[in-house]
Amino acid sequence: MTTHTEEMTLNMGPQHPSTHGVFRLKVTVRGETITSAEPIIGYLHRGSEKLAEGLAYSQFIPYTDRLDYMNAMTNNYIYCASVEELMGLEIPERAEYLRILTMELNRVASHLLWWGTFMLDMGAISPFLYAFRDRDHILDRLNEISGARMTFNYMRIGGVKWDAPEGWIDRVKETVELIRENIHDYDTLVTGNEIFQARSKGVGYISKENAVNWGLSGPALRASGVKFDIRKDEPYSIYDRFDFDIPTREEGDVFARYKVRIAEIYESLKIVEQACEQIPDEGEIIHKKGKRLMMIKPPEGEVYKRAEASKGEIGVYLVSNKKKEPYRVKLRRPSFVNVEILEELLIGQPIANLVAIFGSLDVVLGEVDA
């Protein structure tokens, strides 16, 4: 009797429980080992860039919320900042602080959510709910200042929409304390766990050169040993006023990416605390040109501006032709670039590692598909 084995094509998604949205991964497996992987995206494509060409500059802000809906503040910021750069606007001091506060709080929320869903992928269910509980505290703060829990639409060209409500800064300080305590608990629950370490250490290794060549950014890049953070190396807004570290790891595996993100939560909390101390008590919150929502007309020109979102480098390439609407908006979405490496990274891995590796890249499909 002769036997033969054949390869099997397995579709992960678009409706698979661990695809973080509508992501499809076509893998061929031999037994449980992956021999090739092809990410297929576009199920959530909404044509944001085309929509931008038909909308006034300000009108596009709510659309940026919907790219990476876990970290909408930075998306808001980078779009507004690129228009501001074209127009050469000075941002009022208080507005800058409010921007930093909201962006960093949002980064913590985004990392917490990543932590929860990643652990869910790894088969631990409790961290997911703990992460959501703490994320909720942050979303409440952001809700108080911006009026929405996820799609904030808070920033405006030239400043921010609202000033902080009464007592908000104090409540933020309390939230920071609370989260810092809780994160410590979560660290105990997961980081030391041998099962978790066995699954994540040495898995999904990305070398330094590979990470740069594949254009990875954010925690995924830093976990491979590249000490680069746009907030530090090319400070935008007022990040040069704060004292914080860039956590890096040399290992480049899933565990390193995990540790980098956890360390980043602590760093972000540090920035929030400092911003709470430094923020001026009152002042303008928006440049006078930005107040007239529909009348923004930047001069002709083009600009590429980038910022550090929770997932990596988010960039906006903006071309203006002196009209009410932008001529071209290109959004460099970190998830879109980060997920690309999967096809190389997954080869030779067992299926059980697939979810760990995919989860460790922290991909939001709203951002991948734009």
Binding site: S18, L120, S126, R199, N353
Partner: protein, 319 residues
């Protein structure tokens, strides 16, 4: 026993077990909910007591779907094959000194032997579904269940050597006579038993056959309605049976202070085991297949063998 009482006992036990499974599922959801800062089910009946009943009713009235490409006969048979042994093994469980179905002198052997038939149901279900996830899940399941069967059996051998009998009731009487529950002298065996029992049951952190983040739902991906209910039932009855076995051989069965009946103590100890399993599920991430296999073959089996050696030496030395 005569035929009539036997049938009656089986019928009553089935009803009780069904109620027990319903309670166990509720208990699991409540415990895990509480550990996750949730309240768990709370809509049906006071404290959500009727939640499982509602779920079961929903499963029963659902459309019975058999996939077009499935191997029909095998597909239909699989859940039954998975369930029947899990129920049959309960016959040897002695709930108290007087309440038992069969006083079998090879009770342990019967228990372990019959329970491994469930593996077949898993394999059949996974294969006949004609679904890739189900196939992978059942392959994992079978590999895992067969591998962990060995340390499970070996861990009990220590107890059998000490007691000198395969009869489950004798094991309890022995514990009564020495005035000590066997998990103390057989601690190593107990630990190995607990770990391999979890793997045997496909429960978290060893729930690889149904790892929902990787394989959707594993071997019962294509099952729905009451067939799915059968798999669920088998899983929970099996969990009850394994904790009953643990109670009997390591925790002194029905033994306990006299002011409450033996059945109560038995149930209480079982609940303790169930709680531990739910606790594990709420705490640990899922292990990986190769780690699981390595752990079973390279750690648990040597440990179990070591336990047998030590026990034999002690037995011979002590006379």
């Amino acid at each position: 026993m005569e035929l009539m009482p036997m049938v009656l006992y089986a019928g009553v036990l089935l009803q009780l077990i069904l109620a027990g499974v319903a309670a166990a599922i509720l208990f699991e959801r409540k415990v895990i909910g509480y550990m996750q800062l949730r309240t768990g089910p709370n809509r049906h009946g006071p404290w959500g007591i009727l939640q499982t009943v509602a779920d079961v009713l929903k499963l029963l009235i659902k459309e019975d779907i058999i996939p077009h490409a499935a191997d029909r006969k095998v597909f239909v048979l699989a859940p039954i094959i998975a369930f029947v042994p899990s129920f049959a093994i309960l016959a040897t469980v002695s709930w108290s000194e007087n309440l038992y179905a069969a006083d079998l002198n090879i009770g342990v052997l019967y228990f372990i032997g019959l329970s491994s038939v469930t593996t077949l149901g898993v394999l059949m279900g996974g294969w006949s579904s004609n679904n890739k996830y189900a196939l992978l899940g059942s392959m994992r399941g079978v590999a895992q269940m067969i591998s962990y069967e060995i340390p499970l059996v070996l861990s009990i051998v220590g107890v059998v050597i000490l007691v000198g009998s395969l009869n489950l009731r004798d094991i309890v009487f022995f514990q009564e006579s020495i005035g000590l529950w066997l998990f103390i002298p057989q601690f190593l065996g107990f630990v190995v038993y607990m770990i391999s029992a979890i793997a045997e049951l496909n429960r978290s952190p060893f729930d690889l056959p149904e790892a929902e983040s990787e394989l959707v739902s594993g071997y019962h991906t294509e099952y729905s309605g009451f067939r799915m209910a059968f798999f669920m039932l088998a899983e929970y009855v099996y969990a009850i049976a394994i904790s009953a076995l643990a109670t009997t051989i390591f925790f002194g069965g029905w033994l306990g202070p006299d002011f409450l009946p033996g059945e109560f103590w038995f149930l209480l100890k079982m609940c303790f085991f169930m709680f531990v399993w739910f606790w594990l599920r709420a705490t640990l991430p899922r292990a990986r297949v190769d780690h699981l296999m390595n752990f079973g073959w390279k750690v648990l089996i040597p440990l179990a063998l070591l336990n047998i050696v030590i026990t034999s030496i002690i037995k011979v030395w002590m006379g």
